[in-house]
């Protein structure tokens, strides 16, 4: 879309215009969501029922957390296809340990998060040490991490009855009317949004994504930044995996298979440019909510669920095409201004 996010306060008028366009992606998405919600409410009034809204936002919160991690990676011009396997692996292992050992739940969660971090670090290490494309490496780890789940599961599944009493309750509980998961997601999104905007690391992430050579000239250690992005992506996929386990209670070896498309779609729809260097984690989170809304609309309007996959695909294509159009227009504006 635009590189303004990488150098805020560019000052000149085209830069200001670019900034306005960049912000408009989040606003556009919110507007589309409001229209879609209004439409669904007219056709199916139970959309606005608190139960339904809680469920939509709770599920979207899980995807938003994973999408924040994916956004960090995409900002550095990379992609992580293995997030869904990390989610499934952490969901299963946490459930598996909880049913076999009588350990405090918090400790098992920490164990899960540590493992998730290691999986992310493994991706980052292979990619930065051997200087190989992330798409290929994470296509490989997508299947390797999923394979580990099959080894651990060995044909079994974790049922809610195996887990500590009330394990799934947080999925339906609310604080001041807001579902717990939404609060967790909001905290994570806020922390990362602030970190990207105001910390050294955040600015380096944008620098590496905008122009790796320039970044290394000004002293950014690109490899470390990319490694950190993948590590955090793994960690956040672990958080999403734990929440997934709490939400569904029943965990299979195939849990969360195929959700990487939804996560990447959320990131791209949320305005994070796949070419790196531009976009926000807030956008990615809004993108996740938007896709969750579409999912819910299909359910409520009694449309076939088979459409979902096709819609995700179309949404990805639409979002990247819009990016290209905006980029083209920006270039024309910049050229006009230069003349």
């Amino acid at each position: 879309m635009t590189a303004t996010r990488a150098r805020p306060g560019g000052g000149s008028r085209p830069a200001a215009l670019l900034g306005a366009l960049a912000r408009s992606r989040e606003l556009t998405l919110v507007a589309v969501m409001l229209v879609l919600s209004a439409f669904v409410t007219l056709r199916a009034p139970n959309f606005l029922a608190p139960d339904n809204l809680d469920q939509v936002t709770t599920l979207a919160a899980i995807f938003a957390i994973a999408a924040v991690g994916e956004a960090l990676v995409v900002l550095t011009r990379n992609v992580d296809l293995s997030v869904e396997s990390t989610m499934g692996l952490i969901a299963f292992i946490v459930g598996d340990v909880l049913r076999q050992q009588h350990l405090p739940v918090a400790e098992v969660w920490l164990l899960g998060l540590a493992l998730a971090l290691v999986l992310g670090m493994a991706n980052g290490a292979i990619i930065t040490l051997f200087k190989v494309p992330s798409i290929v490496v994470t296509l490989g780890t997508l299947s390797i991490y999923r394979g580990i789940v099959f080894v651990v599961a060995n044909g079994s599944q974790v049922s809610l009855s195996d887990l500590p009493a009330g394990y799934s309750n947080p999925a339906t509980e609310t604080l001041a009317g807001i579902p717990y998961f939404v609060i967790v997601a909001a905290v994570i999104v806020t922390v990362f949004a602030l970190a990207l905007r105001y910390t050294h690391f955040g600015r380096q992430l944008y620098a590496v994504g905008s122009d790796p050579e320039a970044a290394s000239i000004i002293g950014v250690r690109n490899g470390w930044v990319v490694f950190a992005a993948f590590s955090l992506c793994g960690l956040l996929a672990g958080v999403a995996g734990i929440l997934w386990g709490i939400e569904f209670g029943t965990i299979y070896a195939t849990s969360a298979s195929g959700v990487v498309l939804q996560i990447v779609a959320a990131v791209v729809v949320g305005g994070v440019a796949i070419a790196g260097g531009s976009g926000t984690v807030v956008g990615a989170a809004i993108g996740a909510l938007f896709l969750g809304l579409i999912n819910n609309a299909l359910l409520l309007l009694l449309l076939p669920q088979e459409l979902l996959q096709a819609i995700y695909g179309a949404v990805i294509l639409l979002a990247v095409s819009t990016d290209a159009v905006v980029r083209l227009r920006n270039r024309r504006v910049a050229q006009a201004a230069a003349r």
Binding site: T141, S143, G147, F150, L261, G313, I316, L317, A324
Partner: protein, 360 residues
């Protein structure tokens, strides 16, 4: 005479090293392909240790026909990766092709016509990828990730969770039978013809040279008159058609058209291409290398199946193999650096020509 040549050589020390450099990738490729051959031999030996049926004709037919869909899809994918792009959508185009084929056949359309329509669908899907990548200038990674979801979604819309079988005998015979009296499956013939055609086009025509040029340096290729956009669009169209053909073959082999046919095969296709020595960054690779990689994967999968390894673990092995083959060039580079350093140590004055020849 010899002094003259030595003098010339001394004046132009860059020439021999440039020659050596030009020969080096070829030599490296030859080594890579030899390595693959060696792996195939080892796997064959391992296969005979696992099962006495490994070297039988029937098992050869099994082993090859099991990978023919990914094998034919790997051919256009090789060219796309040489041109520094990627097509992740092939597995979904395979599924869409299978779904359309089943839908039309169930609706009473003659099968020959169905196959024609399916190939057109493949071409259109490839055209969509090609236009978005080559004309709109979008990254192929996201575009084909989008169509990976889109094509699979369309397949699900068309066929839902139904499975269409009851195909005519000639069709299923083509899918899983061999040429009578030989252990050669009919589908292997399709692969052989396509592989020969791709080999010829890639390594003996100007189209092939253009593909390599685009992969090495897109801008340089454009300035020297290559129509980069059309070339790339054509590659994606071919990839779509071949993926649709793979859908036809898979439907015939399983004798069942399902929307989820071929899920996860992109991993195998990309693994075959990279294992075949094609550089993921574009500009380098050979069709013979990829053909050897096809048989390496076939032997590996077959050996694992005979050893009773479940399909989930087979996917893990393929994933590991993918990472090994993508990191292999790094280790090769390191090894070359080390050997250069060792050689540099033996001949401290690092001149391009042997000093002994210059001074008689």
């Amino acid at each position: 005479m010899s002094e003259e040549r030595a003098a010339v050589a001394a004046e132009q020390p860059a020439v021999p090293s440039a020659l050596a450099r030009r020969r080096a990738p070829l030599a490296a490729l030859a080594r890579w392909e030899l390595l693959l051959l060696l792996i195939i031999v080892i796997l064959t030996w391992a296969g005979t240790q696992i099962s006495k049926y490994f070297l039988t004709g029937a098992n050869f037919a099994n082993l090859t026909s099991a990978v023919m869909e990914v094998a034919i899809m790997a051919l256009p994918s090789t060219l796309i990766i040489i041109a520094a792009e990627i097509d992740l959508s092939v597995e979904s185009m395979l599924g869409l092709s299978s779904a359309v084929l089943g839908f039309l056949w169930a609706a009473g359309v003659p099968l020959q016509l169905d196959i024609g329509i399916v190939l057109v669908v493949g071409a259109l899907g490839g055209l969509l990828n090609g236009l978005l990548v080559a004309r709109a200038g979008l990254p192929s990674l996201v575009v084909t990730l989008g169509t990976l979801a889109l094509f699979r979604g369309l397949a699900q819309v068309i066929l839902g969770t139904n499975a269409i079988s009851s195909f005519p005998a000639w069709f299923t015979t083509f899918g899983f039978d061999s040429i009578p009296g030989t252990p050669v499956p009919w589908t292997l013939v399709v692969f052989a013809v396509l592989a020969a055609a791709f080999w010829y086009v890639t390594h003996a025509t100007w189209v092939g040279r253009q593909i390599f040029a685009v992969g090495k340096n897109k801008d340089a290729a454009r300035y020297s008159g290559v129509d980069v956009a059309t070339l790339k669009t054509a590659l994606f169209v071919v990839s779509g058609i071949i993926a649709a053909l793979a859908g036809v073959i898979l439907t015939a082999r399983f004798s069942s058209a399902r929307a989820d046919n071929g899920t996860g095969l992109t991993l195998t296709v990309v693994t075959i291409v990279l294992l075949g020595g094609v550089d993921i960054n574009g500009g380098k690779g050979t069709i013979p290398g990829v053909i050897l990689a096809v048989f390496t994967i076939a032997a590996l999968q077959n050996a694992m199946r005979l050893a009773g390894v479940s399909s989930e673990y087979q996917a893990v092995a393929i994933g590991l193999l993918l990472i090994v083959s993508v990191t292999a060039p790094y280790f090769a580079r390191q090894a070359r650096l080390v050997s250069d350093r060792v050689r540099g140590g033996r001949h401290p004055p690092a001149t391009a020509v042997d000093p002994g020849e210059v001074i008689p």
